[in-house]
């Protein structure tokens, strides 16, 4: 660990990697709780995987893959949202189709782009050590956008996540806020691709929020705790992977998984411990 702290002081790329992890954590902290309570993990997974299509087209055309990722993520989010709002029952199939089609398109374009084959692995599993400063600015801009939109529409987002019918009766434009929420999920996915790659995004999006949910009792607290947990996990994962030269993305995800499992067990034990003495009282 001291070796890592030493190295951070000496190497600019490690400082950038740490910063990238923190920037991604803000996104996962803000949006992860909504993905969790709205139960749209599968939907977020679909958006994340379909992003490869946009990245493939972007590298083929010589553009920034992150811009391609952002465009395709937003497009996928709106398409899935539209299917859900129009047909309701077709949502699962639509997500599965977009998931696979997006990846197929991406692979085809990358296969026909000379010299880009090695980038495929970093798209899929992230490469936090190679985040260029330009991408850091891009991520910071996405973070600001997320923060502004979530804070501005916080009441409406909570109402739509909690009880769509009641929100509609109170005059909240439910369809607009639902689609906006999906777009924010898409933006968050793009934010995290640099850090953990599009396959592992879903873990970083849901696990810190889920751990926060075990111990906090409001969405706002989940957001703060989720952001802090995400920051801790990305930094710790980076530090752990540095010495033995492991890939950082999978290390971060395994840490998150371990934390989630232990938290779930502890929360379950706490629930049993609390429930046993109060049972007779509850019955009376």
């Amino acid at each position: 660990m001291t070796e890592f702290i030493d190295a951070v002081g000496r190497h600019g790329f490690l400082q950038q990697a740490l910063l990238a992890g923190l920037l991604a954590s803000l996104g996962c902290g803000l949006i992860g709780p909504f993905v969790l309570v709205k139960r749209i993990t599968f939907l977020a997974g679909g958006i994340a995987h379909s992003v490869l299509g946009g990245m493939g087209v972007a590298v083929y055309l010589g553009a920034d893959p992150l811009v391609g990722a952002l465009l395709s993520a937003v497009l996928a989010a709106l398409l899935i949202g539209w299917v859900r709002l129009t047909w309701r029952t077709g949502e699962d199939t639509a997500i599965g189709a977009l998931w696979a089609i997006g990846m197929a398109v991406g692979i085809l374009f990358i296969a026909h782009t000379p010299g880009y084959a090695q980038d495929l692995m970093s798209f899929l599993f992230g490469n936090i050590l190679l985040v260029p400063p330009r991408s850091l600015w891009f991520m910071a801009a996405l973070d600001l956008l997320l923060l502004a939109v979530v804070l501005g529409g916080y009441r409406q987002f909570v109402a739509v996540a909690f009880d769509e019918e009641f929100a509609r009766l109170r005059g909240v434009p439910v369809t607009f806020f639902y689609l906006l929420l999906l777009v924010l999920v898409a933006v968050t996915v793009v934010l995290m691709i640099q850090v953990v790659g599009l396959i592992l995004v879903i873990a970083l999006l849901t696990l810190p929020a889920a751990v926060a949910g075990h111990w906090t009792y409001s969405l706002a607290a989940m957001m703060v705790a989720g952001t802090l947990l995400g920051s801790g996990l990305t930094s710790a994962g980076l530090a752990l992977s540095y010495g033995p030269d492991l890939p950082a993305g999978p290390t971060i995800i395994l840490l998150a998984g371990a934390l989630y499992l232990s938290s779930a067990v502890l929360a379950w034990l706490r629930g049993r411990w609390r429930a046993s003495p109060t049972l007779p009282a509850a019955r009376a």
């Binding site: 309570v37 009641f166 969405l219």
Partner: protein
Amino acid sequence: MNPNGSPVAAPVIEVDRVCFAYGPVSVLQDVDLSVQPGEFLGLVGPNAGGKSTLLRLILGLLQPQAGRIRVLGQIPRRARGRVGYVPQHPGFPRDFPISVQEVVLMGRLGLGMALGSYRRTDRAAAACALAEVEAADLAGRQIGTLSGGQLQRVLLARALVSDPAILILDEPTANIDQRMEGEIFDLLAALNARLTILLVSHDIGFISGYVSRVACLNRTLLCHATEAIDAAAISAVYGSGVRRIQHRQGRPTRSGATGTTDAAREMTDVSV
């Protein structure tokens, strides 16, 4: 005449020859209903008789295929802001990380600022509404830790916090025990002093002591007493305290059962 004895005012809810079907299944046929200001109207009828559907039409969540609905003189969608609604099944998961106070505050959406957080006036109104339903002590509790009766009070507070002119409740006591049921109805009777109330129930024996008028719905609104009827009159028709509704075919159907078929879609008249 309305129950207060004042001259007849414009009805707050007007349903005029409304038809509604889910696909090929006709649910409501030529339904007429008019609710006067200050009334406490009990809407009864067997399950699958269209009671909830009629409420959803009045709230503007569904559009009628024929007929016309006016609420406070406006189309339902426009009148929503002045209607409080307590659903039969809360449309949220019980494990949602949210406190009672935050749930009640949601009733304030659509009032005041569109963006940002709730104002001090919103929080004061939420505290006030919780006090009115005698649930002020629950404000900080998680929504998932409430009992059925407590949750019903909180949902009532959420409907009251926007200071509505009409309160619409769909089976508000379906999931709670009888003692709680009495408390909720006492509360509604007190609220009726300032609000028009439209309440759906399958339990006419119980609501008869509280409501000023009963309408029976089973696809068509068959009985629609224009005079106020009292508990004795309803008991005479239904039998005091008997929780069942007798159908014309002579086939007794427990009000809680879903055994009504199209052939049996006819109700006993409650003519008074």
